[in-house]
Assembly symmetry: C2
Homo-oligomer: 276 residues x 2
């Protein structure tokens, strides 16, 4: 496994590689990331994992500074998983000048976009740059960051990027909590409370599957239950899988998305449903 810090060196290493598969990460890896690497290996070409904590996608007062940098531990997981190249540029390598050109995505005021101004613009911009550097044939993203995945699929399609986006299911702890680098911020008490988010999403899903269609009532009831247990809820929303907007009257492929805070830690999760 090669550890590469520079854009030019990475391009050199990948010259002539026909079916590169790419897993962009911010490091502090867990089993969910390693599962993305496993799926990347199925493309049959070299597997490149990037580790870059992207300042562009963090807002004022967010956790850019304290986001864990754990390169040695990350590499110790990536090598046995079959990673060929770890690309870990520093900020000056990715942004040698102020990034005055950015990707402007839609849905900026929806869901997480409403609570993290500029976040998805920063995500789309860095992923476009990484795509141009790595030039993969396949890129793998997890469904846990559902809005991010939706936007990156849209960007790939609308910018005519010749890349297959592979969507990976969310990995969960035994108690249902979605694996996330940010789980490490939770106190023991918060960690014990955290699985409620997924339990509630499943309960909402059961209501929808049983024929309930009063989305605002379902959303408000779930938010109230979280608040009663000490969460600060950003949103719980029933949306169309296809558009991430409010579902049309006869739409059957739904997704329930939630973002809520326990103490200083913001957790997100979602479940897909087919209510047809």
């Amino acid at each position: 496994m090669q550890l590469i810090h520079g854009v030019a060196e990475l391009r050199q290493a990948l010259t002539g590689a026909p079916r590169t598969a790419f897993v962009p990460t911010m490091g502090n890896l867990h089993a969910g990331h390693i599962d993305l690497v496993r799926q990347a290996r199925q493309a049959g070409g070299p597997v490149v994992v990037s580790i870059f904590v992207n300042p562009l996608q963090f807002g004022q007062g967010e956790d850019f500074e304290r986001y864990p940098r754990t390169l040695d531990a990350d590499c110790a997981q990536l090598e046995p998983a079959g990673t060929d190249i770890v690309f870990c540029p520093d900020v000056a390598e990715m942004y040698p000048e102020a990034q005055t050109f950015q990707v402007q995505p839609p849905l900026a005021d929806e869901l997480c976009g409403a609570f993290r101004p500029g976040h998805f613009q920063g995500v789309c911009t860095v992923v476009l740059k990484l795509f141009e550097i790595v030039r993969p044939k396949v890129a793998v993203f997890g469904k846990k960051d559902y809005q991010q995945l939706h936007l990156l699929k849209g960007m790939t399609r609308q910018f005519n990027l010749d890349i297959d986006i592979v969507e990976a299911e969310t990995l969960r702890a035994d108690d249902g909590l979605a694996l996330s680098s940010r789980n490490g911020y939770l106190s023991p008490a918060e960690r014990a409370e955290a699985p409620r988010l997924y339990r509630l999403l499943k309960a909402c899903g059961a209501d929808l599957c049983a024929g309930q269609r009063d989305y605002p009532a379902i959303e408000a009831d779930a938010a109230r239950q979280l608040a009663e247990h000490g969460w600060r809820v950003d949103y719980i929303a029933v949306r169309s899988q296809a558009t991430l907007l409010a579902p049309g009257a006869d739409e059957t492929r739904l997704v329930i998305l939630a973002a809520a805070r326990l103490g200083n830690t913001r957790l997100i999760d979602n479940i897909e449903l087919n209510v047809g």
Copy 2:
């Protein structure tokens, strides 16, 4: 020479081509475009010329509808110039869905950006898409569209596109008028008046080379002279070649840019100067 309308067909035709050179155009070609093709041939790979009148870069009330579509005449010029592929997609091929992802460039309120809201966002977005479709090693743009060239160089650099941007000098008629597809809109009287723009730019350049540094006075005097001869002036501006902003005190690499209208026709031109 192949004429190709579809993205998939173009990608197929270019499979394995190592050093594709690309000239994006809106058609209605003149000798200036053919000179871009000549420079593209020097890259040594296949030469692709795109012809696409991009609705995204035209504002309300601009000339999208009346912009001349002259495909047969264009091809008759491109074939003897050594073009290998003409890519002429229709609007539905380039925009099969609403283009909700766009490139947001800087300098949107400067120079032509101030008079054509959204124009450079549309230019950068379509050029990024065309770059992803064609995947050239080299792309050739003319200096006549100076702000466009500046932005496309910046986009290429900041998005890590692995493309060499070749800058081609402006071709001019014998009387100095910069060649432009929009010259065809001019009446005979307007055509006789049009070379004044370049003459004035050269006079301003002579003043700068003679040591004049009162940029606002130079700009205002030139604008007044144009207005006296029936032009409606959008701007005449002395700028830094490096930033397209007002030059710093000791900046020597300058460019004078102008946009002005004769009747309904908007003409642009510029000259570069080294006053060091």
